[in-house]
């Protein structure tokens, strides 16, 4: 399955900014079987990068243990309305996707 859409919301809290991001991805473990009993090969997001105003704030390495269509929440100190947040990922097939949002 090709990379699907991403959704992101960055909201200002009390002294911090919450970044909530949803990715569309099968996150196959390599242990599931298709209806014909054949193993579905591993396919999952390996790297995740969160940037605020162009600066990398979180770098994540992920595995097949992350649920299908992953949702992550990250928290960054401070922040202001209009700050630009960018989240991007790379999976085991070399597929990538990214999304951008402004802090509200």
């Amino acid at each position: 399955m090709a990379a699907g859409p991403m959704k992101m919301r960055a909201t200002l809290g009390n002294g911090y900014t919450d970044v909530r991001v949803l990715m569309t991805h099968p996150m196959e473990t390599g242990q599931r079987k298709d209806p014909d009993g054949k193993l579905i090969p591993m396919h999952f997001i390996q790297n995740l990068t969160v940037k605020v105003n162009g600066k990398t704030v979180v770098e994540a390495e992920t595995s097949q243990a992350v649920s299908r269509n992953p949702v992550f929440t990250f928290r960054v100190k401070g922040g202001a309305r209009g700050d630009k947040v960018e989240v991007s990922w790379v999976d085991t097939e070399g597929e990538t996707n990214k999304t951008e949002a402004a802090v509200t």
Binding site: N47, T56, V57, E61, S63, S67, F74, G94
Partner: protein
């Protein structure tokens, strides 16, 4: 004709090289480890000290092992990385997060759990490691078919 062939060869090469480039920042050995101890050894984590300053918020009983929500936060000053391990999963290392430039050592994510297991979080502050554990009971596993 020649240019077309070159373009095709170039594209094929790029496709071949891409997965390797992507895997550069991925701790392959640690993620491939079959036990939590081996995964930690491969990450260079030695003798983490138990700490009450790492909060793990998760359900005590997860009905569906395919989606277990976990919220982790370290209140240890200077925490720069959090590592999540699910002891009884086929590959225990689930995720690893590195925080910089004002990111708080906090993350919320959904993980898969094959069976009831300890979920272990390792926090790194400077050259020191801290750990906290929480058991989550799973009624339906989330790894196989």
């Amino acid at each position: 004709m020649n240019t077309l062939r070159r373009t095709l060869v170039g594209a094929a090469l790029a496709l071949l090289l891409k997965p390797f480039a992507a895997a550069a920042a991925w701790s392959k050995e640690a993620f491939g480890a079959k036990s939590a101890a081996d995964a930690l050894k491969s990450l260079g984590v030695s003798s983490p000290a138990p700490s009450k300053d790492i909060a793990i918020e998760a359900p005590q009983i997860a009905e569906n092992g395919a989606v277990v929500p976990i919220e982790i936060q370290s209140n240890i000053p200077g925490t720069t990385a959090l590592t999540v391990l699910i002891a009884k999963n086929p590959f225990p290392l689930a995720s690893r997060f590195t925080f910089m430039e004002g990111a708080l050592p906090f993350v919320k994510l959904n993980v898969k759990m094959g069976e009831t297991s300890d979920v272990r979080v390792i926090a790194q502050a400077g050259a020191r490691y801290y750990t906290a554990t929480k058991e989550i009971k799973v009624t339906i596993g989330g790894c196989g078919g």
